[in-house]
Point group: C2
Chain length 323, copies 2
Amino acid sequence: MAEFALIERLRRHVRGRADVALGIGDDAALLQPPAGEQLAITADTLNAGVHFPAETAAADIGWKTLAVNLSDLAAMGAQPRWCTLSLSLPADDPSWLEGFAEGFFALADRHDIALVGGDTTRGPLSLSVTAIGTVPMGAALRRDAARIGDEVWVTGMPGEAAAALALWQASELPITVSANDGLRETLRQRLLRPTPRIEAGLRLRGLAHACVDISDGLVSDLGHICARSGVGARLALAQLPISAALRSTADARIRQWQVGGGDDYELCFTAPRHQHEAVRDALAFAAVEGYCIGQIEAGQGVRVLDEAGCEWQPSRPGYQHFG
Amino acid sequence: MAEFALIERLRRHVRGRADVALGIGDDAALLQPPAGEQLAITADTLNAGVHFPAETAAADIGWKTLAVNLSDLAAMGAQPRWCTLSLSLPADDPSWLEGFAEGFFALADRHDIALVGGDTTRGPLSLSVTAIGTVPMGAALRRDAARIGDEVWVTGMPGEAAAALALWQASELPITVSANDGLRETLRQRLLRPTPRIEAGLRLRGLAHACVDISDGLVSDLGHICARSGVGARLALAQLPISAALRSTADARIRQWQVGGGDDYELCFTAPRHQHEAVRDALAFAAVEGYCIGQIEAGQGVRVLDEAGCEWQPSRPGYQHFG
């Protein structure tokens, strides 16, 4: 396998940044972090057949590989800057790599993120990214900062990715070609091309207390905030709208997908009640929908209340890999 | 697979550092880089059956996974600080993970490196590390800084790892248990537990011009320096001693291993002739052997001269994965 040729092929796509003193091609890259800021760093791996269906198009894999990592930076309120990519490929496949690069750099370029290192190795298809951003000292949105009385918010429409996955598993949604139906295509895009809520994370600095991205499922990830903050939370399903795309499935599992489904990469955050309007404005500036869906309370764990106000038990606590 | 339990198991081993404001457990870690320094960042993946024999002991895999990345930072003259680890495991295997952690953190703790993020996923055994260090502005040892007339140096004894690999492939060296013979065990350790030359890299700041670590093979990696610096190099085999362990193999391939074998993770660097004694002192302070083995010259590529001063052709240009 021509490792160097593969790296070269990726390298052609890389855009420069003023804070990259030395990019790919040496033993390590050299980066210039902004003075007075902290680094936020995260690493996530996607494996074929575990984190995405093996037949997923290369471009969609490329997008998602970066998206799941940028979503973690968004959840910290960090400005993404750089990333590394470790790519294991079963065979030297130039057209696959071109497709992968197309999706990966479409997202990287949208947010001006420089690929500064990594390697390509032979092996079962696996993609590891480490993404690095920066955040002013003390401004990061942490999981451990929720306070009793905070409102609980969520961006976008959690559950759509889980719906797409369920439909695909039931052979009711294609994964490699567009769906004929517009609403189905919406669901499909939500699974294949999640949007990391970077701008929302940046706008929520100084407003939100705690924040997490929804990769495992709303209840599960809000549960991380509760555990780390030593609090409980109450979610009201009545305050969580059902999107047209979700409604169109006419499936009994819609609420389950919303609170238990993973892979959405929306943000769930808490903010003081008196910041309610400021949070609305921040989300509007970031051009993302957002809903106030509950409240932080004393205790532990997440209680979900149905439309009648009765406690409601999600059938599965969080996202388990489908593989 | 209990992903969270696996992460917890690794996390127990993690030591704190003053420059880690928030470690594993949030969406991202928060790090405090030293003022006025640049970041050096590198990423390398090891796959079972490609980068190490599949039966290699977990502790040896753990050590090597980190070592190959630290070696890249050493080659930049960077001070290693933090790393992330993405670990794909075929099955939930607590004893394997304990072994892996033992080797990984033995090296991490030796150099006070904090594991600050990563994930564990189900999949064929694969290990990706991104390592980050820091270096004062402009002090990094780059591949593109060799100048005509520079002396070419190498640390340690390149070739020993390649010898161990060849002996293992010929069923003459065990991989999972110690060798009976002391010299054979030396070779085995060089393959399984390479020593990243961090202290040497730090001491060579301000002395060396260009530097690279030997992962692909001496000629191949020195070739990277030549290509990036727009120069050629001449190596004299007579100046490259043959260690007792290498000599004990009584193998006709010893010189091939020395100039063409990979996996050594020694440093190859260039330095001006007038710094010869200062380089000797720096290596002595770093407690590592070093040999002046050649010279940078006009032209391109690496010429190897045998003991008689005749041009000598390595049979293979660089390390190709054995898998």
